[in-house]
């Protein structure tokens, strides 16, 4: 009997083959009819109805795109690698900026019940706002589409990090804080050597949620601001009616999102501890 992993992999592959097979069959062009009308002939045969491209076409396109991901042939024709790199760059910039604010403020809120009570109403109102709702205001104030997209990432990734940091810090076991106190550790050293490692798993959970949301939001933001990025690419290919590219880029969005999550998952493993 093969191990669970091997059996799961076999099953996964068979599901994939099954799904691709069904997809391929469902998207075959209809048989050419014997007699074409004059109109059909004028329109170039039977394929007048637009169809979702079959997986074979998508795979062929993916192969072509991935074998040269970084070509740059003008504003509307850049390789998928370049587009993804733009998106990742925006996500990471906005995300790091959010981190720079969320972690210290989260620490403050977590350590001070006063600050928590004072700031909580604002957080509760700002948090449920769809990040894209900020876009017009950002475009008006910042007057730069690229920076506005980054700002939208910033504003959407700040909340999970902020709240998780505050929660993690506020719930550090009093025993550990007492250990720091009995060893005469100052506030800063207590924060760094005891509270930060104690709250790190909770903080990392917030960071992982944030990167997921940021990656969801960047696609929509780039569809709005245009120019570069994977979101723009999807929308541009839709305008070109190149559905194979649309499907291919959807898959790439999924793969990159998974990689970002995997990276944060690894980081989470590093700071985890068992009581």
């Amino acid at each position: 009997m093969a191990s669970l992993n091997v059996r799961a992999a076999l099953l996964s592959v068979s599901f994939l083959i099954l799904a691709l097979g069904l997809w391929e069959m469902a998207t075959q062009p209809p048989e050419a009819q014997t007699g074409l009308t004059e109109y059909e002939m004028l329109m170039g045969g039977v394929e007048q109805e637009s169809r979702v491209p079959p997986p074979s076409a998508v795979i062929k396109l993916a192969w072509a795109e991935l074998s040269d991901p970084f070509y740059d042939a003008g504003a509307n024709d850049k390789g998928i690698g370049i587009q993804l790199a733009y998106s990742v760059y925006r996500v990471l910039t906005g995300y790091l900026a959010a981190m720079a604010i969320a972690l210290p403020v989260g620490f403050l809120i977590g350590m001070s019940p006063l600050m928590y009570k004072a700031l909580n109403p604002y957080i509760q109102v700002l948090r449920p706002i769809s990040p894209l709702a900020w876009m017009p205001l950002a475009l008006f104030i910042i007057q730069d589409s690229d920076a506005s997209a980054i700002f939208v990432i910033f504003i959407c990734s700040i909340w999970p990090m902020l709240l998780n940091t505050a929660f993690g810090v506020a719930n550090v076991r009093q025993d550990w804080v007492n250990v720091a106190r009995t060893h005469e550790l100052g506030p800063l050293r207590t924060a760094i050597t005891v509270i930060l490692p104690a709250a790190a798993p909770t903080i990392l959970t917030g960071m992982r949620i944030s990167i997921g949301i940021a990656w969801l939001v960047i696609v929509a933001a780039e569809m709005l601001v245009g120019g570069t990025g994977i979101g723009y690419y999807v929308w541009n290919e839709w305008n070109n009616l190149d559905l194979a590219s649309v499907i291919f880029s959807i898959l790439m969005i999924g793969v990159v999102g998974m990689l970002l999550d995997l990276a944060l998952g690894k980081a989470q493993k590093l700071v985890e501890y068992n009581e």
């Binding site: 007492n178 009995t182 005469e184 050597t193 068992n274 009581e275």
Partner: protein, 308 residues
């Protein structure tokens, strides 16, 4: 003028009782500790033992009264007082060794890395854990964790060591082994120790004096019982000492029959009791010892009558 190493004067703790009134957990606690003494405090749950220890540690504040150590009033926690908590309180993301290193570094920031490590390893060896230096607390048994915690407290060489029911969560066998280790370390270091326990045998094995607390609310330290058994003591042989049984009987009687009503002296200091006074010392178990302890229980009753 203070003469003792540690003087506790008129300590009391008052909490709001949740109905607008106040609840005095303990009041007018007065005692003194001398340097090198091992003192246990026993009392029923709710008498505020842990709060007293936390006040000594500087982790809690008393409602009234003060604590003076070495002529200086205790305000807040400090490295000259080491604490062993009941739940070990090891930092779970650090290895065994690093938990000790953490404390040693806080105590002597000027030490070199090697010196800190060497010092920490020495204390882990003392509690027999030199094979588990790189394990995390979660990979240790409860007994091993408490040993690390004890090593951490001793490693910083505090002037006063506070143990809050350190063996409360351990099974009886493990508890015995670690008690032996504590005896051994204490014989080597002769630290001043103040320890909370619920275990009468443990108190007799370890302490020079045992404070008995009356029940809360308004709990007091009613009596200070002298344990007249010479050091070094050993868990396996201490039962053979007739003084052991006298002391034990006395403690159990207090906890069962008298803890509700016992009061300290008029000036607030605990009554000094020597239940084993006059019992021949260091006598191995023999037929003689048994008859002797019989006759002693009469004088013991008499002593009690005087005290009451």
């Amino acid at each position: 003028m203070s003469k003792s190493f540690l003087e506790v004067d008129g300590l009391s703790k008052v909490y709001p009782d949740g109905q607008g009134g106040e609840l005095t957990v303990f009041e007018d606690i007065r005692f003194a500790l001398e340097k090198g003494e091992f003192v246990c405090i026993i009392g029923h749950s709710g008498c505020g033992k842990s709060t007293i220890l936390n006040v000594l540690a500087g982790l809690d504040e008393a409602s009234a009264g003060n604590v003076v150590m070495n002529g200086k009033e205790i305000k807040g926690p400090g490295l000259e007082r080491g604490v062993v908590f009941q739940n070990y309180s090891l930092l779970p993301w650090k290895t065994t060794l690093n938990n000790i290193v953490f404390a040693v570094r806080a105590r002597w920031p000027e030490w070199s890395k090697d010196k800190v490590k060497e010092h920490s390893e020495r204390y882990l060896k003392m509690v027999g854990l030199d094979h588990a230096l790189n394990r995390k607390p979660s990979q240790l048994s409860g007994g091993m964790r408490q040993r690390v915690s004890i090593a951490r407290a001793f490693a910083t060489q505090p002037e006063l060591l506070l143990l809050d029911e350190p063996f409360g969560a351990l099974d009886a066998l493990t508890r015995g082994v670690i008690q032996d280790e504590l005896v051994k370390i204490w014989e080597e270091t002769r630290q001043t120790v103040f320890m909370i326990t619920h275990d009468v045998d443990e108190a007799i094995l370890l302490s020079d004096r045992i404070f008995l607390m009356s029940n809360g609310p308004n709990a007091r330290i009613a009596e200070s019982v002298k344990v007249d058994i010479p050091h070094p003591r050993a868990r396996a042989t201490i039962f053979q000492n007739p003084a052991y049984h006298k002391t034990r009987d006395y403690l159990v009687d207090f906890l069962v029959n008298r803890s509700g009503s016992a009061l300290p002296e008029k000036d607030g200091t605990p009554k000094i009791v020597e239940p084993a006074q006059g019992v021949a010392q260091a006598t191995p178990a023999s037929a003689d010892a048994e008859t002797e302890s019989d006759s002693e229980s009469e004088s013991d009753t008499a002593a009690r009558a005087v005290n009451a």
